[in-house]
């Protein structure tokens, strides 16, 4: 016997399927509302973020304008400070780049052998500098500070000693001999005329020399040397000037 459901079809449980009797319209409305709320929220949140950023930008721009206006109002002070810094820097560089000739002369006096005497000393910071008498050809060999010395000593061996002593000067890079020549012997006396700058003092066997002392560029920076007077006096007592009898009419010796 076959069972028969006597409940009307529209009243039975689960009638219309999962969508119910509305056919899923209720779910669609709810879903649409949810989507609308989500979209509205996104719109509001994005808009608020935009407004916040705009406000932040306005605030920062305003602060920047104020700071720039303040800096601009004091720009002349900044400019003057820059002038001051530049001038101090330039003067410092110029002062520090000077070669300490005083120290170099002190060193020459310190190392000069007792049996050597100078008739001329020319110190130049570069080959292009022209001061005093004409420079020797050797001077242009190196573009560094150098001292050209000319004088006499008692033998060629002493000339070699003179060169070795010159190398003891602070900052010396090279000592180059230009010439060292004895006089034209005639009975053992010098034939140099009185006005020729001959410093042999009548001794033809005494060589007359000329040499160039080259310094390294960075040598002997200008600096105060305490006790200069004492040192100089000590040097004066230990170095022997040229014999007064050898001083020619043209000038004798400088050291």
């Amino acid at each position: 016997m076959r069972a028969v459901n006597l409940i009307p079809a529209e009243d039975r449980r689960g009638a219309g399927g999962a969508a119910g009797r509305s056919g899923g319209g209720a779910y669609a409305v709810l879903g649409g509302l949810a989507v609308a709320v989500a979209m509205a929220s996104a719109w509001v949140v994005t808009g608020n973020g935009l407004d916040d950023k705009q406000a932040q930008l306005d605030r920062i721009s305003q602060q920047a304008d104020q700071a720039e206006a303040q800096a601009q109002s004091l720009a002349s002070y900044t400019k003057f400070a820059a002038v001051r810094a530049k001038r101090v820097q330039t003067v410092s560089q110029l002062a520090e780049s000077r070669f300490d000739w005083a120290h170099a002369l002190h060193e020459v006096a310190r190392v000069l052998p007792e049996n050597a005497w100078l008739t001329n000393l020319t110190a130049t910071s570069s080959p292009g500098v022209s001061v005093g008498s004409g420079a020797s050809g050797l001077r242009g060999a190196l573009a560094v500070p150098a001292i050209e010395v000319a004088g006499c000593t008692t033998s060629q061996r002493s000339v070699a000693k003179m060169m070795a002593r010159m190398r003891l000067i602070d900052g010396v890079e090279r000592v180059s001999l230009d010439n060292a020549a004895k006089g034209d012997t005639s009975g053992g006396t010098s034939t140099g005329s009185a006005g020729s700058g001959d410093c042999r003092g009548g001794h033809a066997q005494f060589p007359q020399f000329s040499m160039v002392v080259f310094f390294s560029q960075a040598a002997a920076p200008v600096a105060a040397a305490p006790g200069t007077a004492t040192t100089a006096a000590a040097v004066a007592s230990t170095t022997t000037p040229a014999p007064t009898t050898s001083a020619p009419a043209s000038g004798g010796t400088t050291k």
Binding site: L50, A64, T78, R84, N120, T228, K255
Partner: protein
């Protein structure tokens, strides 16, 4: 139309609505937000720079008096004019203090051939600066350091050791002590020294000294238009220290900023 078809259509419609909302409403705002973020970063950098500039400017104003004094004192070392009377006075005083006879002073060259290596390229940097050169004192040329230079030749007579001390004193007129500049007079660079025996013989020597003096660029002026009252004030202060430095007082100038 079946229920399934309706569902598919509804889903597609919602998706289309969401996409349209995103691309038409949200996406432009996000782009605007990104642009604003970039602008904020730029503005923040501008603010930082402006604040730093304002801070520096305020600091510069705070030390203005000290800076002005420094520049004015440097005018003794590097005046705006050639200021030869002051130079002669200082050399004579220094020579006398070292028992040296100051014999002569001569402007070495007026052709622009600077004597020292530091100034040998002076004219190369002065291309197109004829107006500046025209404003220089006679005999001055623009040096490599930017300062006009004046080469002088001096003759002295004295003993060798006094001459050595004298050269040290010349350097001491403007000397560097650590980070400070000790200004007692003109800044002179001794380019060369020639010693020869004096007519009376040893120990007297005759010295010929080639030296370079420096000037402040004429267009810049001693204080760059500043006055004790402020950087934009009166401009008549240039001569106050450049021409009255015959008896300079020692001044220590710090080189710190």
């Amino acid at each position: 139309m079946t229920a399934r078809d309706r569902t598919v259509l509804i889903v597609l419609a919602v998706a289309a609505a969401i996409a349209a909302f995103w691309f038409l409403a949200i996406s432009p705002k996000r782009k605007d937000a990104d642009a604003l973020t970039t602008q904020i970063q730029t503005a923040q950098q501008r603010l930082d720079v402006a604040r730093q500039s304002a801070s520096d400017a305020a600091a510069a104003r705070g030390r203005y008096e000290r800076d002005y004094a420094t520049v004015a004192r440097l005018g003794k070392a590097v005046p705006v004019e050639d200021d030869v009377p002051s130079l002669v006075y200082q050399l004579q005083s220094t020579a006398q203090a070292n028992h040296i006879d100051f014999r002569s002073i001569k402007l070495a060259s007026s052709t622009g051939a600077a004597p020292s290596s530091s100034t040998s390229s002076a004219t190369s940097s002065a291309t197109g600066a004829s107006a500046i050169a025209a404003a220089l004192p006679p005999g001055a040329t623009v040096g490599a350091a930017g300062f006009p230079t004046m080469p002088f030749t001096f003759d002295f007579r004295g003993s060798y050791f006094n001459m050595q001390r004298f050269l040290r004193s010349i350097n001491g007129l403007t000397a560097i002590h650590g980070k400070s500049i000790d200004v007692n007079g003109r800044l002179l660079t001794v380019d060369g020294v020639s010693l020869a025996a004096a007519p009376e013989g040893f120990p007297k020597v005759e010295a010929t000294v080639a030296a370079t003096a420096y000037l402040v660029p004429a267009d810049e002026g001693l204080t760059a238009g500043a006055s004790p009252a402020g950087p934009g004030g009166a401009t008549a202060t240039a001569s106050t220290t450049s021409s009255t430095s015959a008896a300079p007082a020692s001044a220590l100038i710090g080189s710190d900023q």
